[in-house]
């Protein structure tokens, strides 16, 4: 933004022209950010459905566009066409306003989310604070939708959601504070001249803040858990708990307004992954490339963009994976998890980080050793997890196999003569009978 303003000022068009051009530029940039965020959210919907299909041993959407990637556009157009229904007993203005507030809360946060070096709509010097603040607007929208729907299920869902978001903001903010303490700045991206959270980290894993010390690794775990809870995602999806509250706060919504809630939820998944990447995983930093080299070369910045989106995508995948694996917690369990475990541990992490910064001089041998050990431990954890996943997949097989009866290996069973042959046996069967 400053960059645009300075450029416009340098054209010497007079204050009026400069300001009008600046406002136009602002609108263009906002629209661009909005569209990018919308595209990411839509794409995530498709990814979620494809991953769900894979997890559940079925296929998932694959008709619209290659691999079904345009499914979200088709769904969006369908929802656009629907009637904008406002229940007769609902509080009309509030009911109409609520989805916009939720969308504003999530999409406005994208203004301060970095995609790559210098690829950030506005690298505020209070970036992370701005994001934490603006996402809270969504809470108001959710409570408003729950109240204005004049539906008891919606009201319960809205209250649940609000209580949950407000509660989980505490551990999330505390674990973010750990990183802020290490970095000494609130700026998200930064450059060599004005350091931000990303530019202070390095490209290699042991330079990342997640592996700064054991406390920050724990802080990441707490941030991630709280962020999943704030995003109302499984296993914390109580506000939309289908089997309990029908559809929670968006029970009465349909058409475009429902799409607003829906896309905001998925944009939020990317948002939280992007924030975690920024704070803990070195953002767009390329291993072994200096900041000056990145700033100078367009192609290196493009690689950085790829690295950032890749890291965020991995985290998004984990969130989606959660959803199709875990059952849902109960309200009291949710709250006790937050206040009895996450908040105290987050405080310990914050205090531990403060003491660490005081006691161990930055850049010393010991400091580096701790980075290495923590990164090694983190890497080992991921490896163990991947090994377990591989073990389970190998054990039960992950191929989509509809030939159930054919899978029995023992016994005198001829798959081609079963009552209704499936899959390749059906094709074989048809060929033989033809």
């Amino acid at each position: 933004m400053e960059f645009i303003y300075n450029y416009l000022s340098s054209l010497e068009l007079g204050p009026w022209a400069t300001n009008i051009l600046f406002v136009i530029a602002l609108l263009v940039v906002s629209a661009a950010v909005f569209l990018v965020a919308l595209t990411i959210a839509g794409f995530l919907v498709v990814v979620e459905r494809r991953v769900a299909g894979r997890v559940q041993s079925r296929i998932g959407p694959n008709r619209v566009g290659p691999f079904g990637v345009l499914q979200w556009l088709a769904d969006g157009i369908k929802l656009f066409m629907k009637e904008d229904l406002v229940p007769a007993q609902a509080d009309g203005p509030l009911f109409r306003l609520a989805p916009y507030l939720v969308m504003v809360g999530v999409f406005a946060a994208f203004a301060s989310v970095p995609f790559g070096m210098l690829l950030i709509a506005s690298d505020l010097n209070v970036g992370i604070l701005y994001i934490l603040a603006i996402t809270s607007v969504a809470t108001v929208g959710i409570l408003m939708s729950g109240w204005a729907s004049n539906n008891k299920w919606s009201l319960l869902g809205g209250i649940r959601s609000t209580a949950q978001i407000v509660s989980y903001e505490v551990p999330a903010a505390l674990s973010v504070l750990s990183v802020v303490l290490i970095a000494g700045t609130l700026q998200m991206s930064g450059t060599a001249s004005s350091p931000g959270i990303i530019s202070l980290q390095g490209g290699w894993p042991w330079d990342w803040y997640a592996f700064y010390n054991p406390f920050s690794l724990t802080a990441f775990a707490i941030y991630f858990t709280s962020a999943v809870a704030e995003g109302n995602r499984t296993p914390f999806d109580l506000p939309e708990a289908e089997s309990e509250l029908v559809a929670g706060f968006n029970t009465e919504y349909s058409g475009m307004r429902f799409a607003g809630f829906f896309l905001a939820e998925f944009a939020n998944v990317y948002l939280m992954s992007a924030i975690a990447t920024t704070l803990f995983f070195g953002g767009w930093q390329i291993p072994g490339v200096s900041l000056a080299a990145q700033a100078a070369s367009f192609w290196l910045r493009l690689v950085g963009l790829g690295i950032f989106v890749g890291k965020a995508a991995v985290l998004c995948f984990v969130v989606v994976w959660f959803r199709w694996t875990f059952p849902r917690l109960r309200v009291d369990q949710l709250m006790s998890l937050c206040y009895r475990y996450l908040v105290p541990i987050a405080f310990v992490c914050l205090a531990g980080n403060a003491v660490y910064l005081l006691v161990i001089p930055a850049g010393s041998e010991l400091d580096n050793l701790i980075h290495w050990v923590t990164a090694g431990a983190g890497g080992l954890l991921v490896l163990v997890l991947l090994w377990r996943v591989r073990f389970h997949i190998k054990r039960s097989g992950d191929r989509i196999n509809l030939d159930l009866l054919a899978r029995g290996e023992k016994g005198s069973f001829d798959p081609t003569v079963q009552a209704r042959p499936y899959g390749k046996f059906r094709r074989q069967h048809n060929k033989e009978s033809a």
Binding site: Q56, R58, S243, P327, L329, D332, L405, G408, F413, A419
Partner: protein
């Protein structure tokens, strides 16, 4: 209802209308839930939305003609209703069922029990928020549906049993298919245990939740897995033997089995998992011992039952499935009455619900395995 608070405002309990259209009510159920925030004061079940007059219909049908209607008593355990009805009529006629037919009935019923528990366990996990196990369990159920389709041509409402026997015999090919399904399915139970039963969140949601004591369970007439989960050792198959069951060895799982106390939701879940294993065991014994011979006793085309009454009950997947039959000597039953497990399970909900949270009600209804059509008939 409303109590004054300190600020002078009124405190009211919310009356929620859960159902008849609600994602977690199995079939068309309705609960009137009185809640104080998340905590319930009470939940009153309302039944009757799926009443189809199956008992009255019997009075207009011939004895043989009513058989397809029994499938509709409960679409998830059609074989059991068929067997209860067939046994009641056979008791009136004093017909001896050939041993091979008894074995085939047992095979069909135990397959049906496994298929039913697939749906039940899947619905429990789905009501508790995990979607994936439901899909996997329904996939395994397809195998059983295929087997039963090969057996009698129908997948859900089977119409397989006849008065005095069964309608179709099996051949070696089908028995081979059954064996290979068992070989395929028994390891799946272990996988199921590893995937679902051990999940900490799931256990926390069900452990010590909605405890039904043994005394309450007996007093409210719970039967089947729900009763056994509460610690009462009772199984119609073993205690009032019928059909071919005296010839088989099987255990009756009784709570407490794993974590939690007798009568909580987790026990009701685990008892059903264990029952699937036992059903597989019975099926294997059926395969080993299947006798040769007729599949149907000689009964007249137009059955006229002698004057009298009879009651026959079988151990269904949801507890005792009983059929009470009165005959006046004519071509049609004079009166027919069904006794089903879901109805008594439904009646205990109002007693158990006070003090539970809304999410616990969902767990309670799911683990009691209440099915609306069986309740309303």
């Amino acid at each position: 209802m409303s109590e004054p608070t300190q600020a002078g405002a009124q405190r009211e309990e919310i009356v929620l209308n859960m159902g008849p259209h609600h994602p977690s009510t199995h079939g068309v159920l309705r609960f009137v839930v009185h809640t104080d925030g998340e905590i319930m004061r009470k939940a009153v079940p309302e039944v009757g939305y799926l009443h189809r007059g199956l008992e009255k219909l019997a009075e207009t049908q011939t004895y043989a003609g009513y058989m397809p209607f029994t499938d509709r008593v409960n679409y998830l355990e059609a074989m059991f209703a068929e067997q209860a009805y067939a046994m009641a009529v056979e008791a009136l006629l004093a017909t001896e069922v050939p041993p091979r037919a008894e074995f085939l009935r047992t095979i069909a019923c135990e397959l049906n029990r496994i298929a039913n528990h697939h749906v039940t366990l899947g619905c429990i996990t789905m009501d508790l928020g995990a979607y994936t196990p439901f899909v996997y369990l329904l996939r395994e159920r397809e195998g059983i549906n295929d087997l039963i389709e090969a057996l009698c041509g129908n997948r859900i409402t089977h119409n397989y049993l006849r008065i005095g026997g069964v309608s179709y015999d099996v051949d070696d090919k089908w028995l081979g298919q059954l064996e290979s399904y068992l070989n395929h399915f028994e390891p799946i139970i272990d996988e199921l245990v590893a995937l679902i039963v051990g999940n900490e969140i799931l256990i926390k949601r069900m452990e010590d939740v909605a405890v039904i004591s043994r005394e309450d369970a007996v007093a409210w007439g719970l039967t089947g897995p729900n009763l056994r989960a509460s610690g009462q050792d009772w199984d119609v198959r073993r205690d009032i033997p019928y059909g071919a069951y005296p010839q088989f060895e099987f255990d009756v799982p009784v709570g407490p089995l794993g974590r939690g106390q007798a009568g909580d939701c987790n026990q009701r879940f685990l008892v059903r998992v264990e029952e699937m294993r036992q059903s597989c065991r019975i099926l294997r014994q059926c395969l080993a011992k299947l006798p040769e011979g007729d599949i149907k006793a000689k009964v007249p085309k137009m059955i006229k039952a002698p004057k009298g009454e009879s009651y026959a009950s079988v151990e269904g997947a949801r507890g005792e499935m009983g059929c009470y039959l009165v005959s006046d000597g004519g071509k049609n039953p004079y009166r027919l009455k069904w006794r089903t497990g879901s109805f008594s399970a439904m009646s205990i909900i109002e007693h158990t619900s006070p003090g539970l949270m809304i999410a616990d009600l969902v767990a309670l209804v799911a683990t009691l395995d209440v099915i609306a059509p069986e309740c309303d008939r």
